[in-house]
Symmetry: C2
Subunit: 743 residues, 2 copies
């Protein structure tokens, strides 16, 4: 058996040299600068744990420093000062959170001030589930890998005095405060307070951990930054305002800025492994997660397991043709799409109640990190198609949140509703899933939950605080200069259109009528003078003076959130034809949309307008514009470089835009089970389907004349029948194949 394992390990190791596995095409450095806010750390697909190099503090050379500006990622490619591995991180988000439990190796005299102990580095590399870096200051090789709920770091030290530091005081989160207890010379356990995501002061939650080192230190202790004292008091306490080293105290410690240190005499090349288990329930669960997921195995075995998980998941889509770079963009995008939502429950099934203090137990996977204003647009559609078992658990998670908290999620983070961004994004996600035939959830409860947020008065309505205006007027008037009122309403419209769709499907005729009518309320905002949507004042008049361009580059804009009128005007994906009619028909619609691209009003870095390129394809004869733009946008904004994502990846949403676009179909209207088609990047795309959900095991998308030099589509066949540029998901599955003929 042992021999077999050795053979297997050799095979896997060799495998990385020879056959190209999907993981070989992933470049985790893509999206790690240019505000992509991805990171190159070690993580498993949809895993709770990620072990991420933290390089955004402690050096004046940092271009991006967490304390010097709004900063939301533990790592930026352009920085160069490593201050440890952060455990549990967010990928591709726009607010600072998590990124704590910082683990750092050093050599020489113990120094626990990160401004001193941080190091420049070289030989940085990353593959799915693995990260490595060489610390030039110390000549230490640091490596990291992960299981779903635990991290494992391996440090290769030079000969001499070496140290391992666990810093609980710093992190990306704006919360502070930690508690730690020593279990043995080699093990500490504790908790840290996290939260205040997007400066929501009450969205606070604890993380619990157990950290274990595989070598007994020659000395170990704690540190704590002491509060500054004034006057005579300061004279007596030599540690005031400094990091005090606790050399003889090994019981419970707590404070804003504490840490643990471990010192060793190491031989040249000696490797020490540090395992970290976490839980959002308890220290006990963190330990069980660690014990069960690592089972005392060493680094190589954990790394290989993580890599295998990625190959299994990435391998659900096989692409042929295209360049190596295109494959890299594609599989890295898929990698990013498989990070959030991530599992929340411990290995024993326990998880923290949504917005409550209970500890509950789940049967399936309980997910967290629902950045729904982003991900409802395409990521859940990708899950539904390729990872339906996960999408099913995500839907059931959302319904359980309703059971526990009374609300479906908006922007859920580790059991807290952070209420970030606006709208009612769970509705399209659930309806989209249902309409695509994934129905293993309580649709009546789901309808109850959706109906609640659609109809409850604003004061009691967590999802739609301006619901009184909305239901009475059909729109939300601008009551404060920067109240994002139009953006709010646009989200309600699409949510209500989903609700209409479901009501109709459930034969709730009156409801269907009501919500359809509401979903059409967007027309109130249409201003003929500018040809855009425009904020409306409480007296019913349009807001003046009005500039449709105001709001570029995240500057504030009356009525619009993170965008301007151009970025939002076409965001009525459920009624593109109706919008065109308002605008005077196809030509003005198409001309204006083309103008948006031509004049650079299109913002590829944020969600509201990301489906714009697909809207041309609603109109016969204009589909080429979609095909042209998608090719151009992919080439320009999605590259293999660290800046190869146009802005925040938004928990995988930007990456998913590229994934669908490269496969030749895109779900441009959340809640409507349809795709708009465009020229695929690859010659052949084989998607493994789950027969349990889809009755068959694959979907094949092919370019039938790949050698054609044209970028444009001549004809498309769905199964054996020619089809148009928008197809239904269920028809696609039924057909099992989609064939493109280029011109």
């Amino acid at each position: 058996m042992k021999h077999l394992l050795v053979c297997l390990a050799s095979f896997l190791a060799l495998g990385t040299l020879h056959a190209q596995e999907p993981a070989d095409y992933v470049n985790p450095f893509i999206g790690t600068t240019n505000f992509g806010t991805c990171n190159p750390g070690a993580v498993c697909p949809n895993g709770m744990m990620s072990v991420v190099p933290f390089n955004v503090m402690g050096s004046e050379d940092n271009k991006y420093d967490k304390d010097a500006r709004w900063w939301s990622t533990p790592y930026d490619y352009t920085n160069s000062f490593f201050t440890g591995f952060a455990h549990v991180n967010l990928s591709g988000v726009g607010c600072p959170e998590l990124g704590s439990l910082l683990l750092m190796p050093t050599t020489g005299k113990l120094d626990v001030d990160y401004r001193n102990y941080g190091s420049k580095y070289e030989k940085e590399n990353a593959t799915p589930g693995y990260y490595t870096i060489s610390l030039t200051k110390y000549n230490i090789l640091a490596e990291a890998t992960a299981t779903p709920r635990t991290g494992l770091s391996r440090f290769t030290f030079p000969k001499g005095e070496s140290n391992i530091l666990l810093n609980l005081g710093e992190g990306l989160t704006n919360e502070t405060g930690a508690f730690m207890r020593r279990v043995s010379d080699c093990e500490v356990e504790g908790m840290k307070v996290l939260g205040t995501f997007c400066y929501n002061p009450q969205a606070v939650f604890p993380i619990y951990f157990v950290m274990r080192i595989n070598k007994a230190p020659k000395a170990t202790g704690y540190w704590k930054k002491q509060r500054p004292m004034q006057g005579v008091e300061a004279e007596w306490d030599k540690d005031q305002g400094k990091y005090k080293l606790y050399t003889q105290y090994n019981k419970d410690i707590a404070g804003d800025d504490i840490g643990a240190w471990f010192s060793f005499d190491t031989e040249e090349g000696e490797q020490i492994e540090v395992a970290m288990g976490v839980s959002f329930v308890s220290i006990e669960n963190a330990r069980e997660n660690l014990d069960k997921e690592q089972s005392g195995r060493h680094f190589a075995a954990i790394h290989q397991e993580a890599r295998q998980r990625w190959n299994d998941d990435l391998g659900r889509i096989k692409v042929e043709g295209g360049t190596k770079d295109q494959k890299t963009v594609f599989y890295t995008g898929l990698y990013h799409a498989l990070i959030h939502p991530n599992i929340l429950q411990d290995i024993n099934g326990e998880y923290p109640q949504m917005e409550g203090d209970k500890i509950l137990t789940t049967k399936g996977n309980r997910y967290t990190v629902f950045s729904l204003w982003d991900t409802y647009r395409n990521l859940h559609q990708l899950m539904t198609l390729v990872y339906p078992e996960r999408q099913m658990d995500m839907i059931n998670t959302m319904l359980d949140m309703y059971r526990e908290h009374g609300w479906l999620p908006k922007w859920e983070l580790y059991g807290r509703e952070t209420l970030t961004m606006e709208g009612d994004p769970s509705l399209p996600v659930i309806v989209d899933t249902w309409m695509k035939g994934l129905r293993d959830f309580d649709i009546n409860l789901a309808y109850e939950a959706m109906y609640k947020s659609a109809t409850l008065p604003g004061k009691e309505n967590l999802m739609r605080p301006d619901n009184d205006d909305y239901t009475k007027l059909g729109y939300v008037p601008l009551r404060e200069q920067y109240d994002n009122s139009v953006s709010h309403a646009l989200e309600y419209y699409i949510a209500d259109y989903s609700l209409y769709t479901l009501a109709k499907a459930l034969d709730k005729k009156e409801d269907a009528k009501l919500f359809y009518k509401r979903s059409m309320g967007y027309k109130n905002y249409y201003c003929k003078e500018y040809g855009t949507l425009r904020p409306i004042l409480p007296d019913g008049k349009f807001y003046s003076p009005f500039d449709p361009k105001q709001g570029e580059n995240f500057e504030p804009s009356p009525g619009f959130h993170e965008g301007n009128a151009w970025n939002y005007t076409y965001y009525v994906p459920h009624d593109i034809k109706g919008l065109a009619k308002l605008m005077g028909g196809k030509k003005p619609f198409v001309d204006k949309l083309q103008m948006i691209f031509d004049k650079g009003y299109y913002d590829p870095a944020n969600e509201p307008d990301i489906a714009y390129p697909y809207l041309f394809s609603y109109f016969k004869g204009e589909e080429w514009r979609t095909q042209k733009l998608i090719k151009e946008l992919l080439a320009k904004y999605f590259t293999t470089q660290p800046n190869g994502i146009p802005g925040n990846d938004d928990a995988g949403t930007m990456s998913t835009w590229a994934i669908f676009s490269m496969m030749g179909f895109y779900p441009d209207c959340p809640g409507v089970p349809e795709y708009t088609l465009t020229t695929p990047t690859f010659d052949k795309i084989t998607i493994k389907l789950d027969p349990k959900y889809y009755g068959k095991d694959q979907l094949v998308i092919e370019t039938m004349n790949p050698d054609s030099e044209s970028d444009y589509i001549k004809t498309i066949k769905l199964g054996d029948k020619e089809c148009g540029y928008r197809i239904n998901h269920n028809d696609l599955i039924k057909a099992g194949s989609l064939q493109f003929w280029k011109k």
Copy 2:
């Protein structure tokens, strides 16, 4: 049964109005200013818990503020800004420590900043085991009582919005950092880091607590002082640098400055009780202590029990005659002498290992807070005589510390050796106890421990770091300007004299010879030129320039610690006759000693010279000086006023000086079982003896002609035999009576 209890309660309540109980003579406000560092809080005899008004922070009107100067007590009588009840405090010490878990009632809008929520007060009163205060800002009556390990506070609120705050951020201790967990709406549990006593940075230890309120709040949450942010970061976080209120987060919280708040709607006169259990082992033990000691009983029952404990203990000495004020001084002194050492073990017997991380279990009482440089002089002698069962447990505690840590204690604090002050003070305590016939401990182990600290080289010697010089030269030379070298050596001499005494008793002749010789080394320091002890330089010459007065009022002095040559020159209590010989005989000895008093060189506020007045009585015909001085010193320095203790009470040492002095006998040489006699303050003193230790149940001291107006003694009878001015403890016990005839 219920009826009986009601009757009993009424009887006890009435009892306080009629018959004078010992507790009626206690005025807990004595020693609460003038640096007495006593406090008027509620405590049980030798109890772990004390509930003490905290009035030394938050107001610019504070004459004494913990953050503005060296300040070592939670309460000063002259301050007037109440910021809560502190749980577990030190009494009569000179370094800041403990005084945390601050419990405060307020009314109106929640404000968790102590600078705002503190209140002026009136109607302050205290009796043993009970304290009450009326908060004028809020019209709240606050009361406190205690069991040995738990506190109970009762707040009587006006009608309206009321709050209870638990502040874990502030306290007397210079350590910070706490952790808290919510058990229910009415209960929180947690820990706080304490320590750094006398600015020893490694003497750190945890306190665990469970706090329970007997009414469910209408709202409850936490607070935490947020760390200040700079620049743009500060703009985003509205709580930065402020006390942030957590209104929706109720899981684990940790930080430097955290608290819990509870809000209520109260009726006029509504009483809410808050119980606090503590432990130095664990939260679980804190809860068990609370459950078992309070058993859900209400305030009146707990208060009566505490009072009864005091009456039982104080009642072991009955004094007759004397003024009411003298009785007040006496019983308040006895009250102060019965606060430290206090029990450390939980109700299940568990306690933290001395200087280690283990949790151990004791059979007897495990004591802590051994301020031995102070208490070895008289407090343990009082325990031996009147509370021998406690002294026995204290000795066994000291030996267990040796078993656990390898050293007898010097200044032990909750399991940590703080190494405060100098010398080897356990030796006289143990030998004194043994010589007085309390021998229920392992004397061989004790000898081993004493021998170790007397003989181990300085480098390895925790008690005697300068043992190399001492054993080689017979004295400790001055190697640094303020190294306290003479003070060190003087402590070693008396310790070695004790060791000589024991070696002799154990028939260890060679050892006896060695340690006797060492104990006489003080003679090296005697300088004929000045007639005082004088520091010696490493080259063997006396230190120059020399001023025997340098060191008054706690200014630094070469060679002497907290005093000058005058305060130390007569501190060779084991060889008074030898010292007199050095000085040229009785007359120069007496004249110089009298001069010390006449010129005001005597410092009644610190330990080194407190036995000086008794030294006259070694010389026939000079005993009147002792009698005169003791009467004068008692009258001048020990009064019923808040400033009625001359300086730090030093964990009861100053109070014990008054107690013995008022009873007419004083143990002026620790380790030698003898008393020097003086005129008793009272006509009759009846001391209950424990027959288990002394074979009889009382000792009676009488002034046979109390109506005499003379302050001077004519004759004394020990039993039925006339005796001199120094008597042996064992003779006194044997006789059972001591009779004074005044002139």
